[in-house]
Symmetry: C2
Subunit: 189 residues, 2 copies
């Protein structure tokens, strides 16, 4: 998904400014967390283009004690365009994990690093589980409830797997590295 669709998706829920869209796209507990996290430099031009196309309409809103903000609202044409853009057969999920890349190479990395990375990951997965558990599922649509429940199940599964199998990585960490001995050629090829 691109920033354009992200903006439409968020504005479909209700009016927001560029700044608020950014905050929402970063909030892990928000449903859009499953999709993108965009920077301001991507959001503002996207909003301007969407307004040019008549898919959203903006108005300046003055606030006390804060700078004025430009609040956008989705138009009827925008709603149609959004529905059209999510009506194609979805592509397979895309997933990238630096942790799994590290895990694959546990043997050639220092045990300390592996242990730290595991602890770090467990901590952030626990945080995410907690945040998802605290979401008020009553407040949202059935579709969003499905997605939140899915996120919770997947995050719990990920956490449980790591807690159960962490020894698999910790026990082999550093096994294929000789620290002091210079020019050690590895046996495995």
């Amino acid at each position: 998904m691109n920033v354009r669709t992200l903006c439409l998706a968020i504005l479909y829920e209700g009016p927001a400014s560029g700044y608020e869209i950014r905050k929402l796209s970063m909030d892990e507990t928000h449903k859009f967390a499953h999709f993108v996290d965009a920077s301001y430099a991507a959001i503002y031009p996207a909003l301007n283009k969407l307004e040019e196309e008549g898919l959203i309409s903006g108005r300046v809103e003055h606030q006390e004690g804060k700078p004025a903000k430009r609040v956008y609202e989705i138009t009827e044409a925008g709603r149609k365009e959004f529905v059209r853009s999510i009506s194609q057969m979805p592509e397979a999920d895309k997933f990238k994990s630096e942790f799994l890349l590290m895990a694959t190479h546990a043997e050639i990395l220092p045990p300390r690093l592996i242990r730290e990375a595991i602890e770090h990951r467990i901590a952030s997965l626990r945080e995410k589980v907690q945040a998802l558990e605290e979401c008020d599922t009553c407040a949202c649509s059935p579709g969003s409830r499905f997605v939140l429940a899915y996120g919770l199940v997947m995050t719990r599964t990920s956490l449980a797997f790591l807690e159960e199998h962490r020894a698999m990585l910790e026990d082999v960490a550093g096994a294929a590295v000789e620290q002091d001995t210079p020019d050690r050629t590895e046996a495995a090829e």
Copy 2:
């Protein structure tokens, strides 16, 4: 992860040509499937740059009945650089799902589309589970075994969740749309 690191990761396992790296990066059952899928236009320049930097070295290999290929091998400096590049604390996993975006908005989409998307997803998840089950885990390192096992558990969980809760989406699909314009749907490719 970027194409540069992908190339180093694959060449760390053994020599390969640009064409072969592409194939490996696309193979869902291969361990690198968890990381990136790069196009030729990204791989070839990356390989040239890595060779310039002395991190890999290439030689032309002539073949009978096929065009010659340029096979690259990782150098000692390349191995060091790869270890260095995966030694930073891993960032949180990145995940994008067009299916979940669609699911979130099940209410405003036609039931037919939702049903098709679910069937499609179930089919591809089943394929992935089967492919992962057929992987010969004995042949690979403990780190790779961990990653493969993780992939299998997560894929099975995703599949089970969808099979158990598909009704949640199917029952609400189209609930929030007025059929004022009858059957203006075009056949998707």
